[in-house]
C-alpha cells in the first residue's frame, strides 16, 4: 500500500506554569492509503496531541518543536509535502478538505449558538466555493429573476467568484450591506449540499435538522453531524479522536458501523484513536501502541494481538477486561509518568518488569522485529523471533 501520511520524530511540548510538558517524544507513524490505522494507549499518552500535531491544530500553550509530517497527496504515494513547513494558508486549504477530524466530545465540539446547517455548510464554503459558484452560475442561466439587471449583476459576481474564490471585489461586496446578498444563492447551494450529506448519514428529516441547534440533538446525532462535517469534502484522511468513547454502547456500535461503511464507499483512510482494544480488533488494519509520548509498537492487528512484543503492549492486552478463573481484572501496574519530568531512556522503564541497565540510559528506537512489525524496546529491537525472550503467549 502506498503511504498517505507519515510523521517522523515529532516533538510537541506544552509550556505550562508547572513546566514544559514533553507530550510527544519523537513520534513516528505511517498511515497507508485506504487503511484504518488504530492508535491506542492509556489516556494522557499523547494520542490526541499526535493527531492535532499532524493537522497543526495543537491548542495553547502547545508548540510543535521538531520532526516532520509528510503528506502524500498523490495516488502512488511518491511525492511528499512536508506540512510543518507549509504556510498557515496552505494548512487551511488542507484541513477539512484533505484531512479532517472528529472529536471525542460531540457536546463541546459544536458551536452552541450556530445552526447545524450553518456549521456543516462552512465546510463547503471553505473548500468548494469555486465549484459551487460555477454551479450557481449554471443555474442562473435558466433562473427567472424580477428584472434583467439583477441577473446581470449576479452573473457578474458569480463569474468572478467562480474564477477566483478569493476575488477582492467579491470579498468587498460580501461585507457591504445589501450588496452582500449576492451570496444568497451560494448559501442556498451550500445548504442543499449540507442537507444531502446529513441525509446520507442516516439522519431522518435532514432538511429540518439543519435548522436546529446542537442542544436540540442527542449525543449520537451530534456525533453524526460532526462526521458529516468531516466528510463533507471527501477527505483523504479522517481522524476520529475517540469519536465513540462518550456515547452509549448501542450508539457507539452504530457510529463504528457507519465509519466502516463510509470507508468502504470512499477510499479515505481512517486514523482511529481509541482506548478500546475491542474496537481496534474489529475495525482496524494496523495498530500503533503509544506510551507516555512515544510509539512502542506498530503491527497488523492480528499480529499484534497474537504476538505482542513490547512489554507495555503485553501489559495492556492483559488489562483488557476479561474474566479469568478467579474473576479478577488485571490492570497495568504503576502510574502514568509525569511528562514534565519524564523518565530517562525508555519512558516505560520504571514500570517495566523486564528492564535492563540500558533501558534507563538510552531511548530505544522503533525497529523492525518481524514482517511489518515495529517495536521500540531494547530487548526486541531488530531481532527476529525475540518473542521467545518471554515465551509465547
Amino acid at each position: 500500500m502506498p503511504k498517505l501520511i507519515e510523521t517522523r520524530d515529532l516533538v510537541t511540548n506544552f509550556y505550562t506554569y508547572e513546566g514544559v510538558v514533553k507530550a510527544l517524544n519523537k513520534v513516528g507513524l505511517v498511515i497507508e492509503r485506504g487503511t484504518t490505522f488504530g492508535l491506542v494507549g492509556e489516556s494522557g499518552c499523547g494520542k490526541s496531541v499526535t493527531a492535532r500535531s499532524m493537522m497543526r491544530v495543537v491548542q495553547e500553550p502547545g508548540r510543535i518543536e521538531g520532526g516532520q509530517v509528510l503528506f502524500y497527496p498523490g495516488e502512488d504515494g511518491q511525492e511528499a509535502v512536508e506540512l510543518l513547513s507549509q504556510s498557515e494558508a496552505y494548512m487551511q486549504s488542507l484541513r477539512g478538505d484533505q484531512i479532517s477530524m472528529i472529536f471525542q466530545e460531540p457536546n463541546a465540539a459544536l458551536n452552541p449558538i450556530m445552526t447545524i446547517g450553518d456549521q456543516v455548510a462552512e465546510s463547503f464554503l471553505f473548500h468548494r466555493k469555486k465549484e459551487m459558484c460555477a454551479k450557481v452560475l449554471e443555474d442562473l442561466k435558466t433562473a427567472d429573476l424580477p428584472w434583467p439587471g439583477l441577473k446581470k449583476l449576479l452573473e457578474f459576481f458569480y463569474r468572478r467568484a467562480a474564477a477566483d474564490p478569493g476575488d477582492r471585489l467579491c470579498c468587498w461586496a460580501s461585507r457591504t450591506p445589501i450588496l452582500k446578498r449576492w451570496q444568497q444563492r451560494l448559501f442556498r447551494e451550500a445548504r442543499r449540499r449540507s442537507v444531502e450529506i446529513i441525509a446520507a448519514l442516516d439522519i431522518a428529516n435532514a432538511d429540518q435538522v439543519v435548522d436546529r441547534y446542537p442542544h436540540n440533538l442527542s449525543g449520537g446525532m451530534k456525533q453524526r453531524i460532526l462526521i458529516a462535517m468531516a466528510l463533507a469534502c471527501e477527505p483523504l484522511l479522517l481522524i476520529a479522536d475517540e469519536a465513540t468513547s462518550n456515547l452509549d454502547v448501542t450508539i457507539q456500535a452504530q457510529i463504528l458501523d457507519l465509519l466502516r461503511k463510509l470507508k468502504k464507499k470512499s477510499i479515505s483512510s481512517i486514523l482511529l484513536i481509541t482506548h478500546d482494544l475491542g474496537v481496534v480488533a474489529e475495525t482496524c488494519d494496523r495498530v500503533g501502541v503509544m506510551y507516555a509520548g512515544s510509539v512502542c509498537e506498530v503491527a497488523r492487528v492480528g499480529e499484534l494481538f497474537r504476538n505482542p512484543l513490547h512489554p507495555y503492549t503485553r501489559a495492556l492486552l492483559d488489562a483488557v477486561p476479561k474474566f479469568s478463573v478467579s474473576g479478577q481484572l488485571k490492570s497495568v501496574e504503576g502510574n502514568v509518568p509525569n511528562l514534565v519530568d519524564p523518565p530517562s531512556g525508555c519512558r516505560f522503564h520504571p514500570r517495566c518488569p523486564l528492564r535492563r541497565k540500558i533501558c534507563a540510559q538510552r531511548l530505544p528506537e522503533l525497529a523492525l522485529a518481524g514482517p511489518d512489525h515495529l517495536v521500540a524496546c531494547h530487548l526486541a529491537g531488530g531481532r527476529s523471533g525475540s518473542a521467545q525472550v518471554w515465551g509465547g503467549r
Binding site: M101, N111, I113, F126
Partner: protein, 333 residues
C-alpha cells in the same frame, strides 16, 4: 413581573422612609421658620402617625398620581424638577452608552485575541487607570487640563452667548427634548448643537473611560475562554481562518456573559454620573440627587430610589431579551 418588582422596591423604600420619626418627616412640609412650631399639627394633618400600612397605601396613591412631593433643593415639585433634570442626564448617557458598549466590546475582543501582546498590555494599563482612579479625581484632572491649561472644553451645559440668545428669543428656539444637542438640530441651529457637544466632550470622555474599563476586561476574559473551547478546534479542523474563528464563532459566544455586565454598567452609568455632573457643572439627576442627599430632601431621595428601581428593572428586561436573541438555548417564557 415588572409591576411586582416595582411594588417590592416601593415597599423597601417606604420601609426606609418609616425609620424616620414623624417629626422628621413633617419637616419636609415646613417651608418657613414660623411653621416649625406647627409640627404636631402637620403630623395630624398629613396622618404621619397613622399605622404604617395606611400610610403606605396613601403614599402609593400619591406617587402613582404624580404627586411626588416638594423638593426644596429644586424649589419645585419633585415631579416637575425630575422632568427638568432628566434630559441633562439622558443627554450625557445618550452619548456615553453607545461609546461604552462599542469601545468596551471592541477593545476587549482585540485584547483577548492578541493576548499578552503590546495591545493587551496597553488596554490593561488603560483599564487599571479607568477603574482605580476615582471618578472625581479623573474628572478634575480632565477639567484642569482641558479647561485650565488649554481652554478647549468648558464645563457647563451650554455657552453663555447661546444661553443669552435662547433666553432673549424664546420664539426662535423651541425646546423639544430639553437636550441642546438634539434641540439644536431640530431648530436647524447647528451652532447650538456644536456648542452643546463642546460642553459634552469632557464629561462623556470621563464617564466612558471610567465605565468602559470593566466591560473591556470582562469581554477580554470571555473571549479568551471561548477561543480555547473545543468548537474552535472543530472550526479550525474544518479549515476556518482566524477571522472566521474569532468573529463568526468565538465573539458571539463571548458576548453572552458580557450582555449582563454591559446592561448593569449602563444602568450604573445613569446614576453614576453624580461626580461627573458635579465637577463639570451639569445640573442633571446626579447633581440633584447629591444636593438632595446633603440637604436631606427626603421626597427627592424617595422618588429617585423608585426611578432607579425602574431603570434597573427595565435594564434587566432588556438583558433578558438580548440573551434570548443571542443564545438559542434560552427561550422567553
Amino acid at each position: 413581573m415588572l409591576v411586582f418588582v416595582l411594588l417590592g422596591v416601593s415597599v423597601l423604600i417606604f420601609a426606609i422612609l418609616m425609620t424616620f420619626s414623624p417629626e422628621r418627616r413633617a419637616m419636609t412640609y415646613v417651608e418657613t421658620p414660623q411653621q416649625v412650631k406647627d409640627i404636631p399639627q402637620i403630623i395630624k394633618q398629613h396622618g404621619l402617625d397613622d399605622p404604617a400600612h395606611v400610610q403606605y397605601f396613601r403614599w402609593l396613591k400619591q406617587i402613582s398620581t404624580g404627586n411626588w412631593g416638594w423638593s426644596f433643593v429644586a424649589a419645585d415639585t419633585v415631579w416637575n424638577a425630575f422632568w427638568r433634570y432628566l434630559p441633562i442626564t439622558l443627554e450625557l448617557n445618550l452619548f456615553t452608552t453607545p461609546l461604552i458598549i462599542i469601545i468596551g466590546i471592541w477593545l476587549g475582543t482585540q485584547a483577548g485575541i492578541h493576548k499578552d501582546t503590546w495591545l493587551d498590555h496597553l488596554t490593561r494599563i488603560f483599564a487599571i487607570i479607568g477603574w482605580s482612579l476615582p471618578t472625581f479625581l479623573f474628572a478634575l484632572i480632565m477639567l484642569m487640563l482641558f479647561y485650565g491649561y488649554f481652554p478647549l472644553f468648558p464645563p457647563g451645559i451650554i455657552g453663555d452667548k447661546v444661553q443669552m440668545f435662547i433666553l432673549e428669543n424664546p420664539d426662535k428656539f423651541h425646546s423639544y427634548t430639553g437636550m441642546y444637542t438634539i434641540d439644536g438640530l431640530l431648530n436647524g441651529r447647528l451652532d447650538i448643537t456644536l456648542d452643546a457637544l463642546r460642553h459634552l466632550a469632557m464629561p462623556v470622555f470621563t464617564q466612558v473611560v471610567v465605565v468602559v474599563a470593566l466591560l473591556m476586561r470582562v469581554m477580554r476574559s470571555s473571549m479568551i475562554e471561548e477561543i480555547s473551547k473545543e468548537y474552535v478546534i472543530t472550526a479550525r479542523a474544518k479549515g476556518a481562518d482566524n477571522k472566521t474563528i474569532y468573529f463568526r464563532h468565538a465573539r458571539k459566544n463571548a458576548l453572552i456573559p458580557v450582555v449582563t455586565v454591559a446592561g448593569w454598567l449602563v444602568a450604573f452609568s445613569m446614576e453614576g454620573s453624580v461626580s461627573v455632573e458635579i465637577i463639570f457643572n451639569r445640573r442633571g439627576i446626579g447633581w440633584w440627587l447629591a444636593q438632595s442627599a446633603i440637604a436631606l430632601d427626603i421626597p427627592v431621595l424617595m422618588g429617585m430610589c423608585l426611578f432607579f428601581g425602574l431603570v434597573y428593572v427595565v435594564t434587566n428586561l432588556v438583558i433578558d431579551i438580548l440573551y434570548a436573541a443571542i443564545d438559542p438555548r434560552i427561550r422567553l417564557t
